[in-house]
Protein backbone atom coordinates (compact mmCIF):
# COMPACT_ATOMS: atom_id res chain seq x y z
CA UNK A 1 0.00 0.00 0.00
CA UNK A 2 2.25 2.76 1.18
CA UNK A 3 5.76 1.41 0.85
CA UNK A 4 7.40 -1.96 0.98
CA UNK A 5 10.48 -0.99 2.98
CA UNK A 6 11.25 -1.52 6.63
CA UNK A 7 13.01 0.59 9.22
CA UNK A 8 15.40 -1.32 11.43
CA UNK A 9 17.96 -0.09 13.93
CA UNK A 10 20.52 -1.99 15.90
CA UNK A 11 21.86 0.74 18.15
CA UNK A 12 25.06 0.90 20.17
CA UNK A 13 23.48 -0.01 23.45
CA UNK A 14 22.14 -3.29 22.13
CA UNK A 15 19.07 -1.60 20.79
CA UNK A 16 16.87 -3.40 18.32
CA UNK A 17 14.18 -1.27 16.82
CA UNK A 18 12.08 -2.21 13.88
CA UNK A 19 9.56 0.25 12.58
CA UNK A 20 7.19 -0.92 9.89
CA UNK A 21 5.66 1.33 7.23
CA UNK A 22 2.53 3.08 8.46
CA UNK A 23 3.51 3.02 12.13
CA UNK A 24 3.23 5.99 14.48
CA UNK A 25 5.91 5.54 17.12
CA UNK A 26 6.90 7.81 19.96
CA UNK A 27 10.28 7.58 21.61
CA UNK A 28 10.35 8.61 25.25
CA UNK A 29 13.10 9.04 27.75
CA UNK A 30 14.70 11.60 30.00
CA UNK A 31 17.52 13.77 28.71
CA UNK A 32 20.71 11.78 28.27
CA UNK A 33 18.75 8.63 27.58
CA UNK A 34 20.18 8.46 24.07
CA UNK A 35 17.04 9.48 22.21
CA UNK A 36 18.72 12.45 20.49
CA UNK A 37 21.55 10.24 19.21
CA UNK A 38 18.89 7.83 18.09
CA UNK A 39 17.13 10.61 16.17
CA UNK A 40 20.39 11.77 14.56
CA UNK A 41 21.07 8.25 13.36
CA UNK A 42 17.49 7.77 12.18
CA UNK A 43 17.74 11.11 10.38
CA UNK A 44 20.98 10.15 8.60
CA UNK A 45 22.72 13.10 10.22
CA UNK A 46 24.99 10.66 12.05
CA UNK A 47 26.05 7.06 11.52
CA UNK A 48 26.26 4.29 14.10
CA UNK A 49 29.82 3.34 15.03
CA UNK A 50 28.83 -0.31 14.86
CA UNK A 51 25.73 -2.19 13.91
CA UNK A 52 23.52 -1.26 11.04
CA UNK A 53 20.64 1.00 10.14
CA UNK A 54 18.49 0.06 7.22
CA UNK A 55 16.09 2.67 5.91
CA UNK A 56 13.61 1.73 3.23
CA UNK A 57 15.88 -1.09 2.13
CA UNK A 58 19.05 1.01 2.07
CA UNK A 59 21.89 0.18 4.45
CA UNK A 60 22.67 3.69 5.70
CA UNK A 61 25.66 2.54 7.77
CA UNK A 62 27.35 1.51 4.51
CA UNK A 63 26.26 4.58 2.48
CA UNK A 64 28.96 7.17 1.84
CA UNK A 65 28.43 10.61 3.42
CA UNK A 66 28.11 12.24 0.01
CA UNK A 67 24.95 10.21 -0.68
CA UNK A 68 23.34 10.90 2.72
CA UNK A 69 22.08 14.36 1.74
CA UNK A 70 20.06 12.87 -1.11
CA UNK A 71 18.63 10.26 1.28
CA UNK A 72 17.71 12.96 3.82
CA UNK A 73 16.12 14.89 0.99
CA UNK A 74 13.96 12.10 -0.40
CA UNK A 75 13.42 9.58 2.42
CA UNK A 76 13.22 11.71 5.56
CA UNK A 77 11.04 14.60 6.66
CA UNK A 78 12.28 16.46 9.72
CA UNK A 79 10.10 18.30 12.19
CA UNK A 80 12.06 20.09 14.92
CA UNK A 81 11.15 21.47 18.33
CA UNK A 82 12.25 24.98 17.30
CA UNK A 83 10.57 24.68 13.87
CA UNK A 84 13.82 25.51 12.02
CA UNK A 85 12.18 27.45 9.22
CA UNK A 86 14.29 29.89 7.21
CA UNK A 87 13.23 33.30 8.55
CA UNK A 88 13.69 35.18 5.27
CA UNK A 89 11.46 32.83 3.30
CA UNK A 90 7.67 32.77 3.47
CA UNK A 91 5.63 29.63 4.22
CA UNK A 92 5.39 28.63 0.57
CA UNK A 93 9.13 29.11 -0.07
CA UNK A 94 10.05 27.15 3.04
CA UNK A 95 7.93 24.23 1.89
CA UNK A 96 9.33 24.51 -1.62
CA UNK A 97 12.98 24.31 -0.48
CA UNK A 98 13.42 20.50 -0.19
CA UNK A 99 12.01 20.14 -3.70
CA UNK A 100 14.52 22.67 -5.04
CA UNK A 101 17.31 20.47 -3.69
CA UNK A 102 15.56 17.47 -5.22
CA UNK A 103 15.66 19.18 -8.61
CA UNK A 104 11.90 19.21 -9.14
CA UNK A 105 10.49 21.55 -11.79
CA UNK A 106 8.93 24.85 -10.80
CA UNK A 107 5.36 24.00 -11.76
CA UNK A 108 5.53 20.64 -9.98
CA UNK A 109 7.04 22.35 -6.92
CA UNK A 110 4.24 24.85 -6.81
CA UNK A 111 1.57 22.19 -7.10
CA UNK A 112 3.04 19.97 -4.40
CA UNK A 113 3.85 22.84 -2.00
CA UNK A 114 0.27 24.14 -2.17
CA UNK A 115 -1.02 20.62 -1.68
CA UNK A 116 1.17 20.09 1.38
CA UNK A 117 0.15 23.43 2.87
CA UNK A 118 -3.48 22.50 2.34
CA UNK A 119 -3.00 19.20 4.15
CA UNK A 120 -1.82 21.08 7.24
CA UNK A 121 -4.60 23.66 6.88
CA UNK A 122 -2.45 26.66 5.97
CA UNK A 123 -3.69 27.49 2.48
CA UNK A 124 -4.48 31.03 3.62
CA UNK A 125 -1.01 31.70 5.04
CA UNK A 126 1.29 30.85 2.16
CA UNK A 127 2.79 34.36 1.82
CA UNK A 128 3.42 34.76 5.56
CA UNK A 129 6.94 34.76 6.92
CA UNK A 130 7.66 32.64 10.02
CA UNK A 131 7.74 35.70 12.32
CA UNK A 132 4.22 36.60 11.15
CA UNK A 133 2.81 33.30 12.33
CA UNK A 134 2.00 31.64 15.66
CA UNK A 135 4.07 28.73 16.97
CA UNK A 136 1.42 26.22 15.93
CA UNK A 137 1.28 27.67 12.42
CA UNK A 138 5.07 27.58 12.12
CA UNK A 139 5.12 23.95 13.14
CA UNK A 140 2.46 23.19 10.55
CA UNK A 141 4.66 24.83 7.87
CA UNK A 142 7.52 22.62 9.09
CA UNK A 143 5.28 19.54 8.80
CA UNK A 144 4.26 20.55 5.27
CA UNK A 145 7.96 20.91 4.43
CA UNK A 146 8.65 17.48 5.94
CA UNK A 147 6.04 15.65 3.90
CA UNK A 148 6.38 17.49 0.61
CA UNK A 149 8.96 15.06 -0.86
CA UNK A 150 6.77 12.13 0.21
CA UNK A 151 9.39 10.66 2.60
CA UNK A 152 9.64 7.11 3.91
CA UNK A 153 9.50 8.43 7.45
CA UNK A 154 8.70 11.69 9.21
CA UNK A 155 11.04 12.28 12.15
CA UNK A 156 9.66 14.68 14.73
CA UNK A 157 12.01 15.77 17.51
CA UNK A 158 9.93 17.18 20.39
CA UNK A 159 7.56 18.81 17.87
CA UNK A 160 5.26 20.15 20.58
CA UNK A 161 7.97 21.21 23.03
CA UNK A 162 7.60 24.90 22.22
CA UNK A 163 3.80 24.94 21.89
CA UNK A 164 0.87 25.65 24.19
CA UNK A 165 -1.57 22.79 24.84
CA UNK A 166 -4.10 23.92 22.23
CA UNK A 167 -1.47 24.04 19.48
CA UNK A 168 0.05 20.80 20.77
CA UNK A 169 -3.11 18.86 20.09
CA UNK A 170 -3.63 20.58 16.74
CA UNK A 171 -0.21 19.30 15.72
CA UNK A 172 -0.86 15.84 17.15
CA UNK A 173 -4.12 15.74 15.19
CA UNK A 174 -2.27 16.55 12.00
CA UNK A 175 0.24 13.77 12.68
CA UNK A 176 -2.57 11.30 13.35
CA UNK A 177 -4.32 12.33 10.19
CA UNK A 178 -1.14 11.94 8.16
CA UNK A 179 -0.59 8.55 9.77
CA UNK A 180 -4.15 7.54 8.88
CA UNK A 181 -3.30 8.47 5.29
CA UNK A 182 -0.33 6.10 5.43
CA UNK A 183 2.64 8.17 6.65
CA UNK A 184 5.22 6.56 8.92
CA UNK A 185 6.03 8.81 11.87
CA UNK A 186 8.66 8.56 14.58
CA UNK A 187 8.36 11.21 17.26
CA UNK A 188 10.58 11.98 20.23
CA UNK A 189 8.73 13.42 23.20
CA UNK A 190 8.96 13.53 26.96
CA UNK A 191 5.28 14.35 27.49
CA UNK A 192 3.35 11.18 28.36
CA UNK A 193 0.01 12.54 27.17
CA UNK A 194 1.55 13.37 23.77
CA UNK A 195 3.14 9.95 23.56
CA UNK A 196 -0.14 8.30 24.45
CA UNK A 197 -1.65 9.71 21.27
CA UNK A 198 0.69 7.52 19.20
CA UNK A 199 0.24 3.84 18.45
CA UNK A 200 3.47 2.58 19.99
CA UNK A 201 5.71 3.93 22.73
CA UNK A 202 9.39 3.04 22.93
CA UNK A 203 11.16 4.12 26.11
CA UNK A 204 14.92 4.66 26.39
CA UNK A 205 17.05 4.87 29.46
CA UNK A 206 20.83 5.20 29.61
CA UNK A 207 21.16 4.36 25.96
CA UNK A 208 19.11 1.21 26.17
CA UNK A 209 15.62 0.39 25.11
CA UNK A 210 13.84 -0.49 28.31
CA UNK A 211 10.24 -0.66 27.15
CA UNK A 212 8.37 -1.11 23.86
CA UNK A 213 4.59 -1.19 24.10
CA UNK A 214 1.72 -0.91 21.70
CA UNK A 215 -0.92 1.61 22.76
CA UNK A 216 -4.23 -0.13 22.39
CA UNK A 217 -6.61 2.08 20.47
CA UNK A 218 -4.63 5.19 21.30
CA UNK A 219 -5.78 8.09 23.44
CA UNK A 220 -7.49 10.91 21.64
Amino acid sequence: MYRQGVLEVEALAEVDLWVKPGEFVSIMGSSGSGKSTMMNILGCLDKPTSGSYILDGIDISKTPDSKLSAIRNKKIGFVFQSFNLLPKLNAFENVELPMIYAGISKTERRKRALEALERVGLSDRIKHKPNEMSGGQRQRVAIARALVNDPAVILADEPTGNLDSKSTFEIIDIFRQLNDEGATIVMVTHEPDVASCTKRIVTFKDGRKINDETVMGGNN
Binding site: A70, R72, N73, F80, N84, L97, I100, N149
Partner: protein
Protein backbone atom coordinates in the same frame (compact mmCIF):
# COMPACT_ATOMS: atom_id res chain seq x y z
CA UNK B 1 20.25 23.14 -6.89
CA UNK B 2 19.30 25.07 -9.98
CA UNK B 3 21.51 28.04 -10.89
CA UNK B 4 18.57 30.42 -11.35
CA UNK B 5 17.14 29.54 -7.90
CA UNK B 6 20.60 29.98 -6.44
CA UNK B 7 21.12 33.43 -7.92
CA UNK B 8 17.63 34.48 -6.84
CA UNK B 9 18.18 33.40 -3.26
CA UNK B 10 21.71 34.89 -3.21
CA UNK B 11 20.37 38.23 -4.45
CA UNK B 12 17.73 38.13 -1.74
CA UNK B 13 20.36 37.61 0.93
CA UNK B 14 22.72 40.22 -0.48
CA UNK B 15 19.94 42.80 -0.72
CA UNK B 16 18.53 42.05 2.73
CA UNK B 17 21.43 43.91 4.34
CA UNK B 18 21.98 46.83 2.00
CA UNK B 19 24.38 48.86 4.13
CA UNK B 20 26.70 45.96 4.77
CA UNK B 21 26.53 44.93 1.12
CA UNK B 22 27.38 48.44 -0.02
CA UNK B 23 30.31 48.81 2.37
CA UNK B 24 31.65 45.43 1.32
CA UNK B 25 31.34 46.33 -2.33
CA UNK B 26 33.00 49.69 -1.79
CA UNK B 27 36.50 48.21 -1.99
CA UNK B 28 35.66 46.56 -5.30
CA UNK B 29 33.89 49.70 -6.55
CA UNK B 30 36.90 51.90 -5.79
CA UNK B 31 39.34 49.41 -7.30
CA UNK B 32 37.43 48.87 -10.53
CA UNK B 33 36.55 52.58 -10.81
CA UNK B 34 40.17 53.66 -10.53
CA UNK B 35 41.35 51.09 -13.05
CA UNK B 36 38.62 52.15 -15.50
CA UNK B 37 39.28 55.87 -14.95
CA UNK B 38 43.04 55.49 -15.41
CA UNK B 39 42.81 53.32 -18.48
CA UNK B 40 40.21 55.64 -20.01
CA UNK B 41 42.54 58.61 -19.58
CA UNK B 42 45.44 56.51 -20.85
CA UNK B 43 43.45 55.39 -23.89
CA UNK B 44 42.34 58.97 -24.44
CA UNK B 45 45.85 60.37 -24.46
CA UNK B 46 47.01 57.55 -26.70
CA UNK B 47 44.21 58.34 -29.13
CA UNK B 48 45.11 62.03 -28.99
CA UNK B 49 48.72 61.25 -29.83
CA UNK B 50 47.64 59.06 -32.70
CA UNK B 51 45.36 61.81 -34.04
CA UNK B 52 48.21 64.29 -33.87
CA UNK B 53 50.42 61.92 -35.80
CA UNK B 54 47.68 61.33 -38.33
CA UNK B 55 47.85 65.08 -39.01
CA UNK B 56 51.58 64.77 -39.41
CA UNK B 57 51.13 62.16 -42.06
CA UNK B 58 52.29 58.63 -42.64
CA UNK B 59 55.79 57.80 -43.77
CA UNK B 60 57.05 61.27 -43.08
CA UNK B 61 60.65 61.44 -41.92
CA UNK B 62 62.78 64.15 -40.42
CA UNK B 63 66.54 64.31 -40.91
CA UNK B 64 68.41 66.33 -38.32
CA UNK B 65 71.55 66.41 -36.27
CA UNK B 66 71.47 64.07 -33.37
CA UNK B 67 71.98 66.82 -30.83
CA UNK B 68 70.11 69.70 -32.30
CA UNK B 69 71.28 72.41 -29.92
CA UNK B 70 71.81 75.92 -31.30
CA UNK B 71 75.57 75.63 -30.91
CA UNK B 72 75.61 72.66 -33.26
CA UNK B 73 73.86 74.79 -35.83
CA UNK B 74 77.07 76.72 -36.36
CA UNK B 75 79.46 73.81 -36.67
CA UNK B 76 80.59 72.75 -40.06
CA UNK B 77 78.61 69.56 -39.62
CA UNK B 78 75.29 71.42 -39.50
CA UNK B 79 72.89 70.51 -42.27
CA UNK B 80 72.95 72.87 -45.23
CA UNK B 81 71.40 73.04 -48.67
CA UNK B 82 74.34 70.93 -49.88
CA UNK B 83 73.02 68.05 -47.83
CA UNK B 84 69.60 68.62 -49.30
CA UNK B 85 71.10 68.46 -52.82
CA UNK B 86 72.89 65.27 -51.83
CA UNK B 87 69.74 63.55 -50.64
CA UNK B 88 67.39 64.96 -53.25
CA UNK B 89 67.85 62.15 -55.72
CA UNK B 90 68.09 59.23 -53.29
CA UNK B 91 65.84 56.38 -54.38
CA UNK B 92 62.78 55.74 -52.22
CA UNK B 93 62.16 59.40 -51.44
CA UNK B 94 58.88 60.75 -52.73
CA UNK B 95 59.12 64.36 -51.57
CA UNK B 96 61.94 66.20 -49.85
CA UNK B 97 62.25 69.73 -48.54
CA UNK B 98 64.84 71.65 -46.55
CA UNK B 99 63.42 73.63 -43.65
CA UNK B 100 64.68 76.42 -41.50
CA UNK B 101 62.63 77.26 -38.46
CA UNK B 102 62.86 80.24 -36.14
CA UNK B 103 60.69 81.85 -33.52
CA UNK B 104 62.72 85.00 -33.00
CA UNK B 105 60.60 87.36 -35.03
CA UNK B 106 57.22 88.86 -34.43
CA UNK B 107 54.38 89.92 -36.63
CA UNK B 108 52.39 93.13 -36.47
CA UNK B 109 48.72 92.65 -35.82
CA UNK B 110 45.68 94.70 -36.82
CA UNK B 111 46.06 97.02 -33.87
CA UNK B 112 49.32 98.81 -34.76
CA UNK B 113 50.46 98.67 -31.13
CA UNK B 114 50.15 94.89 -30.92
CA UNK B 115 52.42 92.16 -32.14
CA UNK B 116 52.56 88.40 -31.70
CA UNK B 117 55.46 86.01 -31.97
CA UNK B 118 55.95 84.52 -35.38
CA UNK B 119 57.06 80.99 -35.96
CA UNK B 120 58.75 81.31 -39.31
CA UNK B 121 59.43 78.25 -41.43
CA UNK B 122 61.53 78.48 -44.55
CA UNK B 123 60.61 75.68 -46.93
CA UNK B 124 61.40 74.07 -50.27
CA UNK B 125 59.00 73.49 -53.13
CA UNK B 126 58.05 69.95 -51.98
CA UNK B 127 56.95 71.19 -48.59
CA UNK B 128 53.38 71.62 -49.77
CA UNK B 129 53.22 67.96 -50.82
CA UNK B 130 54.79 66.85 -47.57
CA UNK B 131 52.45 68.77 -45.27
CA UNK B 132 49.43 68.77 -47.58
CA UNK B 133 47.80 71.82 -45.98
CA UNK B 134 44.36 72.97 -47.10
CA UNK B 135 44.82 76.06 -49.25
CA UNK B 136 41.93 78.48 -48.81
CA UNK B 137 43.09 81.32 -51.08
CA UNK B 138 46.05 82.00 -53.34
CA UNK B 139 48.99 79.63 -53.81
CA UNK B 140 51.71 77.88 -51.83
CA UNK B 141 55.47 78.58 -52.00
CA UNK B 142 56.80 77.29 -55.35
CA UNK B 143 60.23 76.79 -56.92
CA UNK B 144 60.08 80.19 -58.59
CA UNK B 145 59.64 81.96 -55.21
CA UNK B 146 62.64 80.05 -53.93
CA UNK B 147 64.83 80.82 -56.94
CA UNK B 148 63.94 84.53 -56.73
CA UNK B 149 64.31 84.68 -52.94
CA UNK B 150 61.02 86.53 -53.15
CA UNK B 151 59.57 88.13 -50.05
CA UNK B 152 56.39 86.08 -50.13
CA UNK B 153 54.68 84.29 -47.29
CA UNK B 154 51.91 81.79 -46.71
CA UNK B 155 49.87 82.50 -43.61
CA UNK B 156 47.02 80.75 -41.86
CA UNK B 157 43.43 81.93 -41.74
CA UNK B 158 43.80 82.70 -38.01
CA UNK B 159 46.78 84.95 -38.70
CA UNK B 160 44.87 86.68 -41.48
CA UNK B 161 42.04 87.38 -39.06
CA UNK B 162 44.44 88.86 -36.53
CA UNK B 163 46.45 90.92 -39.01
CA UNK B 164 43.74 92.13 -41.38
CA UNK B 165 40.58 91.59 -39.33
CA UNK B 166 39.10 89.43 -42.05
CA UNK B 167 40.04 86.49 -44.19
CA UNK B 168 39.02 86.29 -47.82
CA UNK B 169 40.38 86.33 -51.36
CA UNK B 170 41.42 89.97 -51.06
CA UNK B 171 44.05 89.23 -48.39
CA UNK B 172 46.14 87.51 -51.07
CA UNK B 173 48.55 90.09 -52.46
CA UNK B 174 48.44 92.29 -49.36
CA UNK B 175 51.47 92.82 -47.19
CA UNK B 176 52.29 91.89 -43.57
CA UNK B 177 55.09 93.28 -41.43
CA UNK B 178 57.52 90.90 -39.81
CA UNK B 179 59.55 92.61 -37.12
CA UNK B 180 62.96 91.82 -35.74
CA UNK B 181 65.23 93.78 -33.39
CA UNK B 182 66.70 95.23 -36.55
CA UNK B 183 63.39 96.64 -37.72
CA UNK B 184 60.47 95.41 -39.74
CA UNK B 185 60.22 94.11 -43.27
CA UNK B 186 57.17 93.70 -45.44
CA UNK B 187 56.16 90.42 -47.07
CA UNK B 188 53.46 89.75 -49.63
CA UNK B 189 50.82 87.19 -48.79
CA UNK B 190 51.01 84.51 -51.47
CA UNK B 191 48.45 82.16 -50.03
CA UNK B 192 46.27 81.38 -47.04
CA UNK B 193 46.02 77.89 -45.55
CA UNK B 194 43.63 76.54 -43.01
CA UNK B 195 44.95 76.34 -39.46
CA UNK B 196 44.22 72.74 -38.38
CA UNK B 197 44.46 73.68 -34.71
CA UNK B 198 42.33 76.84 -35.03
CA UNK B 199 39.77 75.59 -32.53
CA UNK B 200 42.14 74.85 -29.68
CA UNK B 201 44.28 77.93 -30.36
CA UNK B 202 41.26 80.18 -30.28
CA UNK B 203 40.87 79.64 -26.53
CA UNK B 204 44.33 80.97 -25.84
CA UNK B 205 44.24 84.21 -27.80
CA UNK B 206 47.87 85.05 -28.64
CA UNK B 207 49.60 82.32 -26.70
CA UNK B 208 50.25 80.38 -29.89
CA UNK B 209 52.69 81.99 -32.32
CA UNK B 210 51.54 82.98 -35.80
CA UNK B 211 52.71 80.28 -38.13
CA UNK B 212 54.29 81.81 -41.25
CA UNK B 213 55.79 79.91 -44.16
CA UNK B 214 58.28 81.49 -46.64
CA UNK B 215 60.80 80.27 -49.24
CA UNK B 216 63.86 78.64 -47.68
CA UNK B 217 66.13 81.05 -49.52
CA UNK B 218 64.23 84.06 -48.17
CA UNK B 219 64.29 82.68 -44.63
CA UNK B 220 68.03 81.99 -44.73
CA UNK B 221 68.71 85.52 -45.94
CA UNK B 222 66.34 87.02 -43.34
CA UNK B 223 68.14 85.23 -40.52
CA UNK B 224 71.58 85.42 -42.11
CA UNK B 225 72.04 81.65 -41.91
CA UNK B 226 73.31 79.05 -44.33
CA UNK B 227 72.24 76.13 -42.15
CA UNK B 228 69.02 74.16 -42.01
CA UNK B 229 66.96 73.12 -38.99
CA UNK B 230 66.21 69.82 -40.63
CA UNK B 231 65.29 68.13 -43.87
CA UNK B 232 61.79 66.76 -44.11
CA UNK B 233 60.87 64.02 -46.52
CA UNK B 234 58.22 61.47 -47.35
CA UNK B 235 59.17 57.90 -48.14
CA UNK B 236 57.64 56.20 -51.14
CA UNK B 237 56.95 53.13 -49.02
CA UNK B 238 55.66 54.26 -45.62
CA UNK B 239 56.01 50.75 -44.18
CA UNK B 240 59.71 50.58 -44.91
CA UNK B 241 61.11 53.78 -43.46
CA UNK B 242 63.79 52.12 -41.33
CA UNK B 243 66.03 51.03 -44.20
CA UNK B 244 65.66 54.36 -45.96
CA UNK B 245 66.53 56.20 -42.76
CA UNK B 246 69.65 54.14 -42.23
CA UNK B 247 70.73 54.77 -45.79
CA UNK B 248 70.25 58.52 -45.43
CA UNK B 249 72.16 58.68 -42.13
CA UNK B 250 75.02 56.68 -43.65
CA UNK B 251 75.19 59.03 -46.65
CA UNK B 252 75.32 62.11 -44.44
CA UNK B 253 77.94 60.64 -42.08
CA UNK B 254 79.99 59.71 -45.11
CA UNK B 255 79.58 63.17 -46.65
CA UNK B 256 80.56 64.99 -43.44
CA UNK B 257 83.09 62.36 -42.47
CA UNK B 258 81.36 61.88 -39.12
CA UNK B 259 79.88 58.92 -37.30
CA UNK B 260 76.26 58.68 -36.26
CA UNK B 261 75.96 62.42 -36.04
CA UNK B 262 72.60 62.49 -37.80
CA UNK B 263 69.27 60.89 -37.22
CA UNK B 264 66.38 60.18 -39.48
CA UNK B 265 63.22 59.66 -37.48
CA UNK B 266 59.94 58.62 -38.96
CA UNK B 267 56.59 59.65 -37.55
CA UNK B 268 55.68 55.98 -37.10
CA UNK B 269 58.69 55.47 -34.85
CA UNK B 270 57.86 58.53 -32.81
CA UNK B 271 54.26 57.38 -32.54
CA UNK B 272 55.35 53.97 -31.33
CA UNK B 273 57.74 55.49 -28.82
CA UNK B 274 55.07 57.84 -27.46
CA UNK B 275 52.48 55.09 -27.29
CA UNK B 276 54.89 52.86 -25.46
CA UNK B 277 55.49 55.55 -22.85
CA UNK B 278 51.81 56.27 -22.23
CA UNK B 279 51.06 52.55 -22.31
CA UNK B 280 53.68 51.83 -19.67
CA UNK B 281 52.56 54.69 -17.46
CA UNK B 282 48.92 53.60 -17.73
CA UNK B 283 49.83 50.01 -16.92
CA UNK B 284 51.89 51.09 -13.93
CA UNK B 285 49.16 53.24 -12.39
CA UNK B 286 46.53 50.58 -13.16
CA UNK B 287 48.71 48.11 -11.31
CA UNK B 288 48.68 50.32 -8.26
CA UNK B 289 44.90 50.66 -8.57
CA UNK B 290 44.61 46.88 -8.88
CA UNK B 291 46.09 46.53 -5.40
CA UNK B 292 42.94 48.14 -4.04
CA UNK B 293 41.03 45.33 -5.79
CA UNK B 294 42.91 42.79 -3.73
CA UNK B 295 42.13 44.76 -0.59
CA UNK B 296 38.49 44.84 -1.69
CA UNK B 297 38.59 41.09 -2.23
CA UNK B 298 39.87 40.54 1.30
CA UNK B 299 36.96 42.69 2.52
CA UNK B 300 34.56 40.41 0.65
CA UNK B 301 36.18 37.33 2.15
CA UNK B 302 35.96 38.82 5.64
CA UNK B 303 32.26 39.59 5.34
CA UNK B 304 31.57 36.17 3.84
CA UNK B 305 33.22 34.56 6.88
CA UNK B 306 30.94 36.61 9.12
CA UNK B 307 27.92 35.66 7.01
CA UNK B 308 28.72 31.96 7.23
CA UNK B 309 29.01 32.15 11.02
CA UNK B 310 25.79 34.14 11.32
CA UNK B 311 23.95 31.67 9.16
CA UNK B 312 25.29 28.49 10.72
CA UNK B 313 21.78 27.46 11.74
CA UNK B 314 20.43 28.13 8.26
CA UNK B 315 23.16 25.92 6.86
CA UNK B 316 22.17 23.18 9.32
CA UNK B 317 18.52 23.45 8.30
CA UNK B 318 19.36 23.34 4.61
CA UNK B 319 21.54 20.29 5.13
CA UNK B 320 18.88 18.50 7.16
CA UNK B 321 16.35 18.88 4.37
CA UNK B 322 18.75 17.56 1.77
CA UNK B 323 21.22 20.24 0.65
CA UNK B 324 24.45 18.65 -0.48
CA UNK B 325 27.81 20.13 0.53
CA UNK B 326 28.18 21.31 -3.06
CA UNK B 327 24.81 23.09 -2.86
CA UNK B 328 25.92 25.01 0.23
CA UNK B 329 29.32 25.76 -1.30
CA UNK B 330 27.75 26.97 -4.51
CA UNK B 331 25.24 29.14 -2.63
CA UNK B 332 27.93 31.08 -0.81
CA UNK B 333 30.27 31.37 -3.77
CA UNK B 334 27.39 32.76 -5.84
CA UNK B 335 26.70 35.28 -3.08
CA UNK B 336 30.34 36.39 -3.10
CA UNK B 337 30.34 36.65 -6.90
CA UNK B 338 27.15 38.71 -6.86
CA UNK B 339 28.75 41.07 -4.34
CA UNK B 340 31.86 41.60 -6.43
CA UNK B 341 30.02 41.55 -9.76
CA UNK B 342 27.63 44.29 -8.65
CA UNK B 343 30.62 46.16 -7.21
CA UNK B 344 32.31 45.77 -10.58
CA UNK B 345 29.31 47.18 -12.47
CA UNK B 346 29.05 50.17 -10.12
CA UNK B 347 32.82 50.59 -10.40
CA UNK B 348 32.56 50.78 -14.18
CA UNK B 349 29.91 53.51 -13.93
CA UNK B 350 31.88 55.53 -11.35
CA UNK B 351 35.16 54.97 -13.19
CA UNK B 352 33.62 56.13 -16.44
CA UNK B 353 32.29 59.29 -14.74
CA UNK B 354 35.63 59.87 -12.99
CA UNK B 355 37.41 59.46 -16.32
CA UNK B 356 35.12 62.02 -17.94
CA UNK B 357 35.64 64.44 -15.04
CA UNK B 358 39.42 64.01 -14.99
CA UNK B 359 39.49 64.32 -18.77
CA UNK B 360 37.55 67.57 -18.59
CA UNK B 361 39.87 68.97 -15.92
CA UNK B 362 43.07 67.90 -17.68
CA UNK B 363 41.71 68.85 -21.10
CA UNK B 364 42.12 65.30 -22.30
CA UNK B 365 39.80 62.90 -23.98
CA UNK B 366 38.65 59.89 -21.95
CA UNK B 367 38.00 56.71 -23.88
CA UNK B 368 36.42 53.74 -22.09
CA UNK B 369 37.20 50.73 -24.24
CA UNK B 370 35.01 47.64 -24.41
CA UNK B 371 38.09 45.62 -23.49
CA UNK B 372 38.58 47.41 -20.20
CA UNK B 373 34.91 46.88 -19.31
CA UNK B 374 35.05 43.18 -20.09
CA UNK B 375 38.29 42.95 -18.13
CA UNK B 376 36.79 44.79 -15.15
CA UNK B 377 33.76 42.49 -15.04
CA UNK B 378 35.95 39.42 -15.41
CA UNK B 379 38.37 40.57 -12.70
CA UNK B 380 35.64 41.47 -10.23
CA UNK B 381 33.88 38.14 -10.76
CA UNK B 382 37.19 36.32 -10.42
CA UNK B 383 37.78 38.10 -7.12
CA UNK B 384 34.37 36.85 -5.98
CA UNK B 385 35.39 33.30 -6.78
CA UNK B 386 38.90 33.54 -5.33
CA UNK B 387 37.87 35.20 -2.08
CA UNK B 388 34.48 33.48 -1.83
CA UNK B 389 35.65 29.88 -2.07
CA UNK B 390 37.29 29.64 1.33
CA UNK B 391 34.30 30.88 3.37
CA UNK B 392 31.93 28.83 1.22
CA UNK B 393 33.97 25.71 1.77
CA UNK B 394 33.92 26.38 5.49
CA UNK B 395 30.12 26.59 5.29
CA UNK B 396 29.85 23.42 3.23
CA UNK B 397 31.94 21.43 5.70
CA UNK B 398 29.83 22.33 8.74
CA UNK B 399 28.48 19.34 10.63
CA UNK B 400 24.67 19.47 10.29
CA UNK B 401 24.02 18.29 13.87
CA UNK B 402 26.21 21.01 15.36
CA UNK B 403 24.95 23.61 12.91
CA UNK B 404 21.36 22.85 13.92
CA UNK B 405 22.28 23.26 17.58
CA UNK B 406 23.92 26.67 16.94
CA UNK B 407 22.04 29.59 18.51
Amino acid sequence: MHLGENIKSALKNVLSNKMRTFLTMLGIIIGIASVIAITSIGNGSQKEIEDRFDDLGVGRMTVSMRSNSPRNMYTSDALTLDDYELLKDVRGIKYISPTYQANYYSVKLLDPKETNTAQITGVGADYYDIMAPDILYGEYINQENIDNKSKTVVITDTTAQKVFGYCDESVVGQQISIKSWKGSQKFTVEGIVENPNAESEMQYENEYPESIVMPISTAQRLFGQKTLTNITLVAEDPDNTDALGERIVAMLDNFHNTSEKYTCESTTEQLEAMNEVTGTVTLLISGVAAISLIVGGIGVMNIMMVTVTERTREIGIRKSIGARNSDIMFQFVVEAIILTFMGGLLGIVFGWLAGLAAGAILGMESVVSVNSIILAVAISSAIGIIFGVYPAEKAARLDPIEALRYE
